[in-house]
């Protein structure tokens, strides 16, 4: 409340200083507080990953380590233990399931948006209902299926369920995007002489790229972060994904919790997502504000 002093700011404004309104001060403080509140756990994790073990366990918590308390040893340990294999596993599973999701979901969405299918509403309702199932409930059934098909310890055991779980979201999001796409554009392309494939490649895909990226990233994040399926369906060490591998990092003794490596693994697991989002940020914004063709 110390910042709320309207008479003082009025005076300073009259004494030829640039005026700073109370509103903007409160706004700034509020914004900073919110950023700290949401980023603090991440920052703490980051800090933990670059502190020495001694600094991590020191009794008065070390918020600002001195120069000799920094180390990259946790990261080095992590990669010496072959952590990159988990990154590869995660990336493979996430990328393949995302691509599959878009490749199957987009045509389905296009059909639902453009063709006057009989029972279109029913199909949409069914797609929506699928998203309502708590996926923990699906898990037991899936486990049986994975066992019956002998898919355990196979990347497909993750790729297929991830794709299936992300499909409804992809279909619904892409459908609403296709509906916004003016039909005249496709008619115009037909009259210009584009073949169906040419129209898809030259006209529709460039226009739907933002939507593809947006839904793709959502699907990718889910697949990248998923834990329970990955924990259960994959037991072979060399095929584990990052969330599982990070959770199973063990210390030298039963009661030794390896905070440093855990934090390092978390950071390594998060960084690709951050880069991905930053890289496609512009496209995402376009995707969210799409449809302004007619103007």
């Amino acid at each position: 409340m110390t910042s709320v002093q309207p008479p003082a700011t009025n005076q300073s404004a009259s004494s030829s200083k640039p005026s700073v309104s109370v509103k903007s001060i409160i706004l700034t403080i509020g914004a900073v507080a919110i950023v700290i509140f949401s980023l603090a756990p991440v920052l703490w994790e980051l800090l933990t990953s670059i502190k020495t073990n001694a600094a991590i366990t020191a009794d008065p918590l070390v918020y600002f380590p001195s120069w000799n308390q920094y180390t990259l040893q946790h990261y080095i340990d992590l990669f010496q233990d072959g952590f990159y294999i988990y990154i590869f596993n995660s990336a493979l599973v996430a990328v393949v399931s995302t691509v599959l999701c878009l490749c199957i979901g987009s045509p389905a969405a296009y059909a639902l948006a453009r063709l006057k299918l009989p029972g279109e509403r029913i199909i949409l309702a069914v797609v929506l209902v699928v998203t309502l199932f708590p996926y923990i409930l699906l898990f037991l059934g899936l486990l049986e299926i994975v066992r019956a098909l002998g898919l355990a310890n196979n990347y497909l055991a993750l790729i297929i369920p991830y794709t299936a779980i992300n499909l409804p979201l992809t279909i619904l999001a892409m459908r609403s995007f296709f509906q916004q796409l003016p039909r005249d554009l496709e008619d115009s392309a037909k009259i210009d002489g584009y073949s169906t494939l040419g129209m898809l490649v030259k006209i529709i895909i460039p226009l739907t790229l933002p939507a593809l990226v947006t839904t793709g990233i959502l699907a990718f994040i889910f697949a990248w972060n998923e834990y329970i399926f990955a924990l259960t369906f994959i037991t072979r060490e060399s095929m584990k994904t990052i969330p599982v591998a990070a959770a199973q990092l063990a210390g030298t003794t039963l009661f030794d919790i390896p905070y440093g490596p855990l934090a390092a693994a978390t950071i390594v697991g998060t960084l690709p997502l951050i880069f991905l989002v930053l890289f496609f940020q512009r496209k995402i914004v376009q995707g969210l504000t799409a449809g302004s063709v007619k103007g």
């Binding site: 003016p182 554009l185 115009s188 009259i191 002489g193 006209i203």
Partner: protein
């Protein structure tokens, strides 16, 4: 020489939804045909069938004496301008105009020449590298037109190209359109719900209603001799007065007045009298065919006043008259109905009643 012909075109979605019933017409070289009608009359569906975007249930589309009913849109040698412009938003103006030509396998140099030539008419030189989003509505419309012009197609199809423009711009672009299409000879089919566009642009107008052609004629014939009650009411603004009147002997009863029916047809018991508001005048002492009434509403249109008059002797009948704004009038007004301006329609069928021999001679000599 290019031409377009459609024969008995029909589109049926279900037994109740028949947007186009039976449409036959031909557009020759140098002709500008407008399909006009209220929404749902089948004009856009007809155009889409000509374009090949919609398959007709029955009938044929013939371009340059070749049956193209089952040819895909891209191979019909047509160009179409859409109401929403339908420019590709991710391509520049130049690419938009070039895309169709490149698909035809034209080389870069020829494409450039064509676009330059179109630009001489359209004045788009400064915008060639811009994206459609950076253009105003009028400019986008010109790009869409340019995209059609550079193709030099056998037939131009335009689907309400002015409907998205604001009123002032619409008049400008309308004039531009007229000039552009007068300079080239390929047949044009233009769809609109706006009768002013139909009247000003076309050499031929087809008035459509409920999937059928009501009248196919030159704009002046449509205005002066509407074929039926629907055309009479649809074309012309303010709308034509259409009054259902009883007949006595050889006269129609209009309030206290009697309007003599022409002797060229057997007098029916009831008849529809049509007269345009702009053809009603304040009666002078010499006029014999007059009707008097009470002015109950005056709408000032700027250059003229639109008077609504309740006919003396039958309260349910109103006449609307368009008078020049410098003319004054009394509350009680007497209007004259010039015989040659009166249209008679059959009450049941709505069809125009046969014209007298003299009137027919007049129109053919005109």
């Amino acid at each position: 020489m290019s031409n377009l012909e459609i024969k008995h075109l029909n589109k049926t979605y279900s037994s109740k939804i028949v947007p186009v019933r039976d449409m036959s017409l031909a557009v020759e070289e140098g002709e500008f045909l407008t399909l006009v009608g209220p929404s749902g009359c089948g004009k856009s569906t007809t155009l889409r069938m000509i374009a090949g975007l919609e398959q007709p249930t029955k009938g044929q589309v013939i371009i340059n004496d070749k049956d193209v009913t089952h040819v895909r849109a891209g191979d019909r040698d047509i160009a179409m301008v859409f109401q929403s412009y339908a420019l590709y938003p991710h391509m520049s103006v130049y690419e938009n105009m070039a895309s169709g030509l490149k698909l035809q396998g034209m080389n870069e140099r020829e494409v450039r020449d064509r676009i330059e030539e179109a630009n001489r008419v359209l004045g788009l030189d400064d915008f060639l590298n811009r994206k459609p989003a950076q253009l105003s509505g009028g400019q986008r419309q010109r790009v869409a037109l340019g995209r059609a012009l550079v193709r030099r197609p056998a037939v131009f199809l335009l689907d309400e190209p002015l409907s998205n423009l604001d009123a002032l711009l619409r008049e400008q672009v309308r004039a531009d359109l007229k000039q552009i299409f007068e300079k080239q000879s390929a047949p044009v089919v233009y769809v609109t719900h706006d009768q002013t566009e139909a009247m000003t642009l076309s050499t031929k107008v087809a008035v459509l209603n409920k999937g059928d052609i009501q009248q196919l004629d030159s704009p002046s014939t449509i205005y002066n001799r509407p074929a039926n009650q629907f055309v009479a009411g649809f074309i012309g603004s303010p709308q034509m007065n259409l009054l259902n009147l009883n007949c006595e002997n050889n006269q129609a009863v209009l309030g206290n007045s009697r309007i003599p029916l022409p002797d060229r047809f057997v007098p029916p018991p009831e008849v529809v009298l049509g007269i345009r508001p702009e053809h009603l005048q304040i009666a002078t002492s010499e006029d014999t065919q007059t009707v008097s009434g009470q002015v109950f509403l005056v709408e000032n249109l700027g250059m003229s006043n639109l008077l609504s008059v309740r006919v003396n002797g039958s309260d349910h009948l109103t006449l609307r008259a368009l008078l020049p704004s410098d003319q004054s009038w009394d509350e009680q007004i007497t209007l004259t109905l010039p015989t040659e301006r009166i249209h008679w329609f059959n009450m049941q069928t709505g069809e125009r009643l046969p014209d007298s021999t003299t009137e027919r001679e007049m129109t053919t000599t005109r």
